[in-house]
């Protein structure tokens, strides 16, 4: 017979039994019952537009203005065009690498639209649409892809590893899920400064397996940090399907395990994403709490230009998702029904985009690469003697044998 610390007897006589342990009181039961890893019933998914872009009955979503809706749509189309044209450029050997976000345009753009510019974004690598929404120009994207001297990353990162402190979009690193911990640190910083802003981080289904994901969610819950975790569950981590990635009911249930409020959303429904992110942001900022959003979607493109996904999944599956579940087409139907868009606007947009994108490529390609000095600057705030020596040594070698080195780099 156990007694509570202050000597009260257990309430066995009253029919309820609770006992104190570190962490609080728990009821206990005499029957041995295991909680199953995943129930047959999955957590339901929030969506407000059906596959034809019609609002579903009993929906509750945030009404979006025409201006915002049209910008959302045009940015989604722009992202799609960027992906098509830059992917082609890689195929032609003009850039070395590219990642597309085909099929995930709604997640990219709608989530960005629901955030504020002060919210600091920590992306994985399939979120160029967020940067696009915030005002990064097509030319700036191209400059980074060609790592020319106008790249604000000074040519140091792989293509599609964008970053812009002006847009509060932290430079992408190739490491998976490390940004999730960074976001929690940033949220901690924002909380200390009592700013009206939150941190936002994106990652895929695969990224949720990394240690950083778990610790970051745990920390955020313990510290009550204003951070939004957005998981793009697109079904594939390169060739690994989610059945080989985890056996839980997706990623949304993991939030609950860490004490984080979570929601599962149809990632191909721009309005649902917008509403959920907006609500999440409000909770994060006003209540100092983390939120997990699992956006269900499908990775229509290959993992990257180094991948041919037809090798591990059926081509007709990809095609079905590309056409029947296209988030861009779905949203287009909605805005057209509202009288905010039409075929003429569409063709104008597409043609204009194609021309502009080809132009940005031409321009970016012709610009010089960053100078040799940029290989050595920014390692530290001021180059120490060993780096100055190494730079000097390299300069001398290049000067002695200029024919061995590319001509379009200034020494």
């Amino acid at each position: 017979m156990n007694l509570n610390r202050d000597g009260d007897t257990l309430m066995t006589l009253m029919g309820t039994t609770g006992i104190d342990f570190p962490g609080g009181t728990v009821d206990f039961i005499p029957e041995m019952k295991f909680i199953y890893g995943s129930d047959k019933e999955r957590i339901p998914c929030y969506r407000v537009l059906d596959d034809n872009g019609q609002p579903i009955a009993d929906h509750n979503f945030v009404q979006v203005s025409e201006e915002v809706a049209v910008k959302m749509y045009t940015d989604m189309v722009t992202l799609r065009s960027m992906d098509t044209i830059f992917y082609e450029a890689q195929r032609q050997g003009r850039i070395s690498f590219y990642v597309t976000a085909i099929g995930e345009e709604a997640i990219n753009v709608a989530s960005a639209a629901a955030l504020a510019m002060d919210d600091v974004v920590f992306p994985q690598y399939r979120e160029a649409g967020v940067l696009l929404w915030r005002g990064f120009t097509l030319q700036e994207f191209a400059n980074q892809l060609f790592s020319n001297k106008y790249d604000n990353g000074k040519g140091r990162q792989m293509p599609a590893h964008y970053g812009s402190n002006k847009h509060n979009y932290v430079t992408i690193a190739s490491t998976i899920a490390t940004q999730i911990s960074h976001a929690v640190g940033a949220a901690y910083s924002l909380k200390m400064d009592k700013k009206d802003a939150c941190a936002v981080t994106y990652f895929g289904d695969g990224g949720s397996s990394e240690g950083d994901f778990h610790a970051a969610l745990n920390f955020a819950a313990v510290m009550e940090a204003p951070v939004i975790f957005i998981c793009r569950n697109n079904g594939w981590a390169i060739s690994t399907p989610i059945s080989d990635q985890f056996r839980s009911d997706g990623v949304v249930v993991k939030g609950q395990a860490y004490g984080v409020r979570s929601i599962r959303v149809d990632g191909n429904d721009a309005l649902a994403i917008f509403s959920a992110v907006q609500a999440a942001r409000k909770m994060a900022v006003t209540e100092d709490r983390p939120i997990l959003i699992e956006a269900l979607t499908y990775r229509v493109g290959h993992h990257s230009t180094s991948d041919d996904s037809t090798k591990y999944r059926p081509a007709n599956e990809i095609e079905w998702w590309r056409v029947a579940r296209d988030p861009v087409a779905r949203f287009r139907k909605w805005i057209e029904n509202n009288g905010w868009w039409n075929d003429r606007a569409e063709s104008e947009l597409i043609n204009n985009l194609r021309q502009r994108l080809l132009h940005t490529i031409q321009v970016a390609e012709s610009v010089e690469k960053p100078p040799l000095a940029d290989a050595f600057s920014d390692v530290y705030d001021i180059p120490p003697s060993n780096l100055r020596e190494q730079e000097q040594w390299l300069k001398e070698i290049v000067k002695e044998q200029p024919q061995e080195y590319p001509a379009n780099i200034s020494v």
Partner: protein
């Protein structure tokens, strides 16, 4: 091992308070004694190798240095001030430095396991949580990779975090964040995001803590581009390096040693910040240059006593800056003595000593009368048994023997 040890060094004032600008050197007219060149209310104390050059030119040996530098002379090395200074232990010096920086700049914060009300495993953060609040002195769950990542994210958004690894060895879990993000993000972002983080903690071989708690992380981290590494060894340099590390815009890893936390010393009352890239002249000499850092400094000084009795005159330099090496101070010493002995706690393979040997051989080959000798721990995990553990660490008799052989 709590000994009364008076920190010492060639203490000369410099006009610049920016620790990186080694180009700004002192005027030839300044002597070693005068200390206080105040700028913004603080003075930067640097051991400047150029002084020794200066002395060479004047053909004076080291009488100027001796009066200043030798510990047994007594009194504070802060010769010109009238204040007596205050005595404290090394861990308290670290805390004092940290506390002063937290008072000075509200962006400085601490995160780590049990750093809050528990005060840290080695009490470096004792009472800071009470003073600055739970948010600024943050207790983290056990996930080194992630709280280091958190520190990096916080640094990128304007804070200046001091991340404590309860034991340096645990930071192996944080290697991904430290190498791929901490060291790299300033560079890969084109200078857009800076990471003024300090990562610190106790490492080295302790007293029977077992192999996993006896790691020498400086070996593993030394290759990471973008970080700086310093090792403290006295209360004086511990406080000075802590402050410098916090003020640096670069990520700095500050290596402390488990067995040195209770060292006692009298340090100045006035504020001071040391340079992150400079070595410390512990004992000037003529016959051999002994390079060391952290706990091995004490083994070397013990050996030095024996050596002096045997008629040798070793020059002992605590390199302090593990990345980058202060090749200026080291080089001047090599040019003077022509013989180098490195005494380290790292393992033979791939340690600081290995890199230092390469750097010295490459740069000062012409000045060496003998190959560089490096005494290190063996390439074995540190055993638990006390006797075995003692044998994996370089001991003073071995240092004496090595010097005798080197000077034959």
């Amino acid at each position: 091992m709590a000994t009364l040890f008076q920190g010492l060094g060639l203490v000369t004032p410099l006009s610049s308070s920016n620790s990186f600008e080694s180009n700004k050197l002192l005027h030839p007219s300044r002597t070693c004694r005068s200390i206080s060149e105040r700028k913004d209310g603080i003075f930067v104390v640097r051991s400047d190798a150029r002084v020794s050059q200066l002395l060479k030119r004047r053909a004076r040996t080291h009488d100027l240095l001796v009066t200043n530098a030798v510990a047994t002379q007594g009194g504070s090395f802060v010769a010109s001030t009238s204040k007596p200074g205050h005595e404290l232990l090394l861990f308290e010096a670290l805390r004092e430095g940290l506390e002063e920086e937290m008072e000075r700049d509200p962006c400085v914060c601490v995160m780590g396991e049990d750093v809050g009300h528990y005060g840290g495993s080695y009490k470096v953060t004792k009472d800071l949580a009470t003073k600055f609040g739970d948010l600024r002195v943050l207790d983290t769950p056990i996930a080194e990779n992630s709280f280091t990542g958190m520190g990096i994210g916080a640094a990128m958004t304007g804070l200046r975090p001091v991340v404590e690894g309860m034991n340096m060895g645990f930071l192996l879990l944080a290697f991904n964040q430290i190498s791929n993000n901490c060291g790299m993000l300033h560079y890969t972002s084109g200078g857009q995001f800076k990471i003024p983080i300090v990562i610190r903690g106790p490492g080295g071989v302790g007293r029977q803590l077992g192999a996993e708690h006896s790691q020498r992380l400086e070996s593993y981290f030394q290759s990471i581009p973008g970080i700086q590494m310093v090792a403290c060894s006295t209360p004086y340099n511990a406080k000075g390096l802590m402050k410098a590390a916090i003020r640096s815009e670069n990520p700095v890893i500050l290596f402390e040693h488990v067995l040195l936390y209770n060292l006692k010393e009298r340090i100045p009352d006035e504020e001071y910040v040391l340079s992150l890239e400079e070595a410390e002249m512990v004992r000037p000499g003529e016959h051999v240059t002994i390079l060391t850092y952290s706990r091995m400094r004490y083994h070397v000084m013990q050996a030095a006593k024996t050596l002096v009795n045997k008629g040798y005159d070793p020059e002992v330099i605590d390199i302090r800056s593990l990345k980058p090496f202060d090749l200026h101070t080291i080089g001047n010493s090599v040019k003077k003595t022509h013989r180098v002995l490195i005494v380290e706690e790292c393992m033979r393979t791939g340690g600081i000593g290995a890199s230092l040997t390469a750097a010295i051989t490459e740069n000062f080959h012409d000045y060496l009368d003998a190959p560089v000798v490096c005494l290190s721990s063996q390439d074995v995990p540190t055993p638990y048994a006390g006797t075995l553990e003692e044998w994996t660490v370089v001991q003073p008799p071995q240092i004496v023997t090595a010097v005798e052989q080197l000077c034959q």
